[in-house]
């Protein structure tokens, strides 16, 4: 039976900070699919992705006292922890060599592949939404957000002026905002 608490985010944070078991059960039961989804988009392998989700929860538990609601929502904070741990994992030495030793072009292909592989019937809505994004813009967002590339790295890899990457990133994010309000 999943735990569901009817409480404000503020109260949830307070209970997490008090180390309350029920609050952590609630956190897991309500956010694990969203968080696991993000990790899974970066790391398709379920076992490695599970390890990352576990590391993320330990990190959330360790750092919840330092969470500052003024700087953003709890969910965004947790999402960033998961995303950063997953990106770190793809860069670590023990991450599968077959997955690691690829040029960006290959990982771009893999990115497309990853998406089509992971899309299940109930996620067709996403394919429609994502289909509305310009493929170049989507690539740019995915490289930065899911792969942790810097603008300078993208500019170098794709032989684009840094200014162009910056302008495109802004317009890509603007278009994304129209789709995800």
């Amino acid at each position: 039976m999943p735990t569901r608490l009817n409480i404000s985010e503020q109260e949830l944070v307070a209970r997490l900070q008090r180390n309350d078991r029920v609050a952590y059960e609630h956190l897991y039961d309500n956010y694990c699919t969203a968080l696991f989804g993000v990790i899974n988009r970066i790391i398709p392998d379920e076992e490695t992705a599970s390890d990352v989700l576990q590391e993320a929860f330990v990190k959330i538990w360790n750092n919840i006292k330092g969470y500052d609601a003024d700087k953003g929502k709890l969910f965004t904070w947790m999402l960033n922890i998961c995303r950063n741990l997953a990106i770190d994992k793809t860069r670590s030495k023990d991450y599968g060599n077959s997955q690691k030793n690829q040029s960006t072009e290959k990982s771009v292909n893999q990115l497309g592949q990853m998406q089509s592989e992971s899309i299940k019937p109930d996620q067709i809505g996403l394919r429609e939404v994502v289909g509305k994004l310009d493929p170049n813009e989507r690539l740019l967002i995915d490289l930065m957000y899911f792969k942790g590339y810097t603008q300078a790295e993208i500019a170098e890899e794709y032989n684009l002026p840094l200014g162009t990457v910056k302008t495109r990133l802004r317009s890509a994010t603007m278009n994304l905002r129209k789709l995800f309000k």
Binding site: N19, T33, Q54, F57, D70, K73
Partner: protein, 264 residues
């Protein structure tokens, strides 16, 4: 508009993509706290990104829940659970009684630990507040030492000429001390011996050069951290005098309001 430019610089996107240095992040956070339109823009970008990132939910393996939750050192204290007991009667009666006794005992232990914990938390809070007070004291003492050191440097300067200004009929007990550096021509004054002034009045220091008064500035109002006040430079003073003037000082001295005078 200034914030428009800031928003269009693309720095908010980089914040959301987590591509800024800690100092740059703090700047964005400060801008968002100061300007509601920056904050609104940041929240909109963040919401879009959160939505895109979580557009493909995935169910983790069922066993992961227990694996993760058992790894966290969590406390049950906040949510008391009901205790299941065997129905009373028969041979299990004594077991039930024993478990009740144990439960009561464990409540007692819990309460003891809880109150000890509370005590420790109280002590910790006290220590932390003591620490803050001591840090404040320390900062205050450091400031005082710095100003005293500055004063001492000025007082021990061998090219200083010390001039005592003595009280005039207006206030015979008043006095002040001038330290005039004959090499650098700088003037310092100790005014601890001057009486308090009426509201709207301020002391003003004059040097007499070639028989004419030269304005060396008004003395600072209110309590001072330093003993010596730094006044304007003067080249060949023959005497120093202080007058009582309207707040802010006057262009020339009000001679019947002269309170102390000292010759070189």
């Amino acid at each position: 508009m200034e914030t428009r430019e800031y928003i269009e610089s693309g720095v908010l996107e980089l914040y959301v993509y987590d591509q800024l240095s800690p100092a740059e992040r703090r700047e964005v956070e400060a801008m968002a706290a100061l300007h509601p339109d920056v904050r609104a823009e940041l929240e909109a970008i963040q919401a879009a990104m959160d939505g895109y990132a979580t557009a493909v939910p995935a169910t983790p393996p069922a066993a992961l829940r227990d694996r993760i939750l058992s790894q966290l050192d969590l406390s049950d204290a906040a949510e008391p659970r009901t205790v299941q007991m065997a129905p009373p009667g028969g041979t299990y009666m004594w077991l039930a009684a024993a478990s009740v006794a144990l439960f009561v005992l464990s409540l007692g232990v819990n309460y003891y630990q809880y109150s000890q914990n509370k005590d420790l938390n109280g002590q910790l809070a006290q220590l932390q507040s003591d620490k803050t007070v001591m840090a404040d004291n320390n900062a205050h003492l450091t400031r005082q030492i710095n100003t005293v050191t500055e004063d001492l440097t000025i007082l021990s300067n061998p090219s200083n000429v010390k001039v005592e200004l003595a009280g005039l009929p207006l206030s015979p007990a008043a006095k002040a001390l001038i330290y005039w550096d004959k090499q650098r021509k700088s003037t310092y004054i100790n005014t601890a011996g001057l009486p308090p002034l009426a509201e709207g009045k301020q002391y003003q220091l004059w040097a007499i050069v070639d028989g004419k008064p030269v304005d060396l500035g008004v003395l600072p109002l209110g309590p001072q951290e330093t003993i010596l006040a730094h006044m304007h430079d003067v080249t060949e003073p023959q005497a120093f005098a202080i007058t009582i003037e309207p707040k802010g000082g006057s262009a020339g001295p009000t001679l019947d309001q002269m309170i102390v005078l000292g010759k070189m």
